[in-house]
C-alpha cells in the first residue's frame, strides 16, 4: 500500500514525455527536408481548422442551449420535438451529416430562399442565391453545428437538472419570472457542472473537424491529403498532421484542466 499522496504534488511525467516528443519532432521538422516541406505545405490548415472549429462550436453552443431549454420546458410539444431532434442527430455519423448538409440541405435551403423571397428578389431588393454562393466551408460548419448541438444540449440539460429544485422554487417565491430564474439563478449554477465537459467537447470537435476535408475545405487534414497524394509521402505527411493536431488538442486539454482546478478552488473558498 502506497500512502495516499496529496493531489497536485506529483510530477506529471506524462506531460514531460509529451513535451520531449514535441521537441524531438520540431527538431525533425527543422533538420529533415521532407518534413520541412510538408510542414510548410500544411501549416495554413491549422488556422482553418481552428477557425472552422471555433465558429461551429460557438453556433453549436447557442443551438445546444436552446435545445436544452426546450428539453426541460413545461410545454410537452417542445420537449417531444427537441428530444426527437437530439435522438436523430446523435444517431447519425458526422460524415453522413456533412454529406447530407452539403448535397441535400444546401441546395434545398437555397431553393427555399429563392422560392419564399421570389417577390423581393424580382424587385431587386434581395439577391437571388445560387447554390455556389453557399460556400463549402459554411456547409461544413453548419453540419458540425447540427451534429454537436445535440451533444451539447445533453450536457446543458444535465447541468440544468443538477441545480437543486429548491433554488428555482425560492426564486419564484421572490417573484422572479421563469426566464429571470433561468438567467440569474439556474444557468450560473449550472455553468459549474457544464464547463469541463464543454471543454472536452471542444477538443473532440477539433478532431472531428478533420472530416470537413471530405468537402474539400482546406483544413489541416485536407492540405495533408493533397500534399501526400501528389508526393506519395503519406506516412511522413500524416506524422506532421498528427503532431499539429496534438499540439492543438493537448494544449487545450491542459487549459480545460486548469479551468477545472480553478473552479474547484473557488468552490472551496
Amino acid at each position: 500500500m502506497t500512502p495516499p499522496r496529496k493531489p497536485g504534488r506529483e510530477i506529471p511525467y506524462w506531460l514531460l514525455a509529451i513535451v520531449l516528443l514535441g521537441v524531438l519532432f520540431l527538431w525533425l521538422i527543422v533538420s529533415n527536408g521532407d518534413y520541412a516541406n510538408i510542414f510548410a505545405a500544411v501549416r495554413q490548415g491549422v488556422f482553418v481548422t481552428l477557425w472552422v472549429t471555433a465558429i461551429a462550436f460557438a453556433l453549436a453552443t447557442a443551438l445546444g442551449l436552446a435545445i436544452a431549454m426546450a428539453r426541460t420546458s413545461r410545454h410537452r410539444v417542445l420537449r417531444e420535438v427537441s428530444t426527437f431532434y437530439v435522438e436523430i442527430v446523435r444517431g447519425v455519423p458526422m460524415l453522413v451529416l456533412l454529406f447530407y448538409m452539403a448535397f441535400v440541405g444546401a441546395p434545398q435551403l437555397v431553393a427555399a430562399w429563392n422560392f419564399v423571397l421570389a417577390r423581393p428578389i424580382e424587385w431587386g431588393v434581395l439577391p437571388a442565391f445560387t447554390v455556389r454562393d453557399f460556400d463549402m466551408s459554411a456547409r461544413a460548419i453548419a453540419a458540425l453545428m447540427i451534429g454537436y448541438s445535440a451533444f451539447l444540449a445533453e450536457i446543458f440539460r444535465a447541468g440544468i437538472e443538477a441545480v437543486p429544485r429548491g433554488q428555482t422554487e425560492a426564486s419564484w417565491s421572490l417573484g422572479m419570472s421563469r426566464l429571470q430564474t433561468f438567467r440569474l439563478v439556474t444557468l450560473p449554477q449550472a455553468t459549474r457542472t457544464i464547463l469541463p465537459p464543454l471543454g472536452n467537447d471542444f477538443v473532440s470537435m477539433i478532431k472531428d473537424s478533420a472530416l470537413v476535408s471530405a468537402l474539400g475545405v482546406q483544413d489541416l487534414t485536407q492540405l495533408g491529403k493533397v500534399y501526400s497524394s501528389s508526393t506519395f509521402l503519406f506516412f511522413e505527411t500524416y506524422n506532421v498532421v498528427a503532431f499539429l493536431y496534438l499540439v492543438m488538442t493537448i494544449s487545450l486539454s491542459l487549459l480545460v484542466r486548469a479551468l477545472e482546478a480553478r473552479m474547484r478552488k473557488s468552490e472551496r473558498s
Binding site: 448535397f103 455556389r132 491529403k225 497524394s229 506519395f232 503519406f234
Partner: protein, 264 residues
C-alpha cells in the same frame, strides 16, 4: 457460326503471339506476385455488380503480364493512401489504380513503363451551353471544375484545362468521385473530368442529367508502382513491351473503354 470461327482464330492468334513472345521474356518460375488495387476506378479496377468480383482493364492486363512471366497473382485490396504506403514498405509487390507517373513520386516508389495514356472527357450538366470545350472553359473565370486531389482528373484539369497552377482556386477538391459528380449535379461545379466509360456510366445511370463536351484531354501516363529497387520492374516492363507490340493493350482498350457498359 462465322463469329465463333473468327473468335477461335483470334484466340489461336493470341496464343501463338503469346508463345512467340513468351520465349524471350524473363521466367519467374511460378513465383507469386502480390498485387493490390482499390476497386474504385471504373473501368480499370472495379467490382462487377453481378458477381461481386474485382474486374477491369488493370486486372486483365496484370493477369496477362503474370501469365507471360510464368508467375501467379495474389490480388489484395486497399484504399489509395494505404496502398501506396504499403507498396513503399514492400508489403505488396505491385500496386495499380490509374496512378499517374511523375518525378515527385518517383522519389518514393518505382514505376513500371507506362501502360496507358489517360483520355479524359468533360462531363457537364445536360443544359450546359456556356462552353463547348476545354479552351472556352479555361477562358471563363467563373467556371469551376470538381476533382480529387492527386488523381488523373486533377492533373488533367490543372494542366490541360486550366493554367498549370496546382493551387488554382477554380479546382474544387472532393473526397470521392461520387461527391464531385454530386457537386456537378447540384451546380457547385461546372464540369468533372473522367474517362469515356465512367462518363457513359453516369450518363446512362441518370438520363437527361449529363452530357460530354469537347474531345479527349490529357497526356497523363499510368504506370504500375513497385517498391524502390524491386526486381520485378524489368520483367514487368518486358511484358508490357510485348503486350504493346502484339496488340493486347489495344484489345483491352476496345473491351473496357468501348464495349463494356458500366451500370448495366
Amino acid at each position: 457460326m462465322r463469329l465463333l470461327k473468327t473468335l477461335a482464330f483470334a484466340g489461336l492468334a493470341v496464343i501463338a503471339a503469346t508463345a512467340s513472345f513468351a520465349a524471350d521474356l524473363p521466367d519467374l518460375k511460378g513465383r507469386t506476385i502480390v498485387a493490390v488495387t482499390e476497386n474504385a476506378y471504373t473501368p480499370l479496377n472495379f467490382v462487377d455488380p453481378k458477381t461481386g468480383q474485382g474486374i477491369g482493364w488493370e486486372y486483365d492486363a496484370f493477369n496477362e503480364i503474370a501469365k507471360r512471366l510464368n508467375a501467379k497473382v495474389d490480388w489484395k485490396l486497399a484504399s489509395w493512401d494505404t496502398m501506396i504506403q504499403a507498396v513503399r514498405d514492400g508489403q505488396f509487390d505491385v500496386g495499380m489504380d490509374g496512378i499517374t507517373i511523375n518525378d515527385e513520386r518517383k522519389k518514393q516508389v518505382a514505376f513500371s513503363d507506362p501502360y496507358m495514356v489517360s483520355q479524359q472527357y468533360m462531363l457537364v450538366r445536360d443544359g450546359e451551353n456556356r462552353f463547348t470545350d476545354a479552351k472556352s472553359f479555361g477562358a471563363n473565370k467563373d467556371l469551376l471544375v470538381g476533382a480529387q486531389a492527386g488523381t488523373t482528373n486533377f492533373y488533367v484539369a490543372i494542366y490541360s484545362v486550366l493554367d498549370g497552377d496546382e493551387k488554382n482556386p477554380r479546382v474544387k477538391l472532393f473526397e470521392t468521385f461520387g461527391a464531385s459528380v454530386q457537386a456537378l449535379k447540384g451546380g457547385d461545379v461546372d464540369t468533372v473530368l473522367m474517362d469515356q466509360t465512367s462518363a457513359n456510366g453516369y450518363i446512362g445511370a441518370s438520363p437527361g442529367s449529363f452530357k460530354i463536351v469537347g474531345g479527349p484531354l490529357g497526356t497523363e501516363e499510368f504506370g504500375f508502382i513497385l517498391k524502390p529497387g524491386s526486381d520485378l520492374v524489368e520483367p514487368i516492363n518486358a511484358a508490357i513491351a510485348s503486350m504493346k507490340a502484339d496488340g493486347t493493350f489495344d484489345k483491352l482498350n476496345q473491351k473496357w473503354f468501348y464495349e463494356y457498359r458500366a451500370g448495366q
